[in-house]
Amino acid sequence: MDYIDPHIHMVSRTTDDYETLAKMGCVAMSEPAFWAGFDRGSVESFRDFFRQLTDFEPRRAAQYGIQHFTWLCINAKEAENVSLSREVIAMIPEFLDKPNVLGIGEIGLNKNTRNEATIFLEHVDLAMRHNQQILIHTPHLEDKYQGTRMILDMLLGDSRIQPDRVLVDHVEEHTIKHVLDKGFWAGMTLYPVTKCTPQRAADMIEKYGSERLMANSAGDWGPSKPTAVPDLILELRRRGHSEAAIRQVVYENPLKFFSQSKRFNFKPPV
């Protein structure tokens, strides 16, 4: 089945992974800017990272017939450094007209601190001033519930926000309803350990329906599996769901959400 991975960190993956993803049916992907595993030293480091996301990765993906899109920001972990964050936010507009940029992301919270919240709000303001869509990272483990609620408070506190242009990622059983009820899109991130399994993602689809719901692999530099979306497809088939119903979650929904960005020039495979 053709599918789109709406959240995958290909800068952490090999070219072999692109080939495997293509063989498994991945036709497009979106890659949010994120933490490199260490704190970067300067704004120039982010400028190079954004060049990688807007120039090198789309070319690498295209070799395997995969269309690559991206989102730009300074991530929540490095947002503790407020002055560096402000330099990065001031530099981002240089890249907003690159052909594969869909918006601002993945912004969010990590440990739910005051500095993280401050920089989150400044990113939201940047997105609104430039009419950009937003992709959101919610914290993990014990911080997820509190952080997700805080993020929703900040989004709902800004009257410029259109919820259907915002994707809130890494939802789990205790946060998904809060996100969907407020009209936002929700993304489930499939990890082999500690977070959401394909089985639990399938449970959430059965419980909440597939409207405004997507699944992604994250596929970052930590323990993660870039082919996790096909695992979900398999689990849904095993449970007897129709091909059309599965396709809505893994293909139609990302297409519908991304199509709100004027730079989403997706050409479906013929």
């Binding site: 709000l121 519930y145 639990r200 059965e206 129709s242």
Partner: protein, 98 residues
């Protein structure tokens, strides 16, 4: 998703039984391992949280006024998630001054 759950509860029980059994066994062996190492962890917060988690699994959903059917209220998975979560206060913006 049209037919939200194509399989019956009995079919699902048959499909999941061995997996659930294996997961219970893993938990039992984990508790054994902790005890076998000696010392007393009964006062540690992690040990207490695990015990609360186990209790959530075996207490009937009716006790919390839920049906577990997705119709209303938190499911077991949601209750377990909330047990392991930091608390949220809607006053946080005032506290932070943002």
């Amino acid at each position: 998703m049209g037919a939200r759950m194509p399989h019956t509860s009995e079919q699902i029980l048959q499909q999941e039984f061995l997996l659930a059994r294996a997961k219970i066994l893993e938990l039992a062996a984990t508790l054994d391992r902790i005890e076998r190492a000696g010392g007393d962890v009964s006062a540690l917060p992690q040990r207490k949280l695990l015990e609360q988690g186990f209790n959530l699994l075996i207490s009937p959903l009716a006790d919390t006024g839920q049906a577990g059917t997705g119709q209303a209220g938190p499911s077991r998975a949601e209750q377990v998630q909330l047990l392991f979560s930091r608390e949220y206060s809607d006053q946080w913006r005032q506290t932070f001054g943002v």
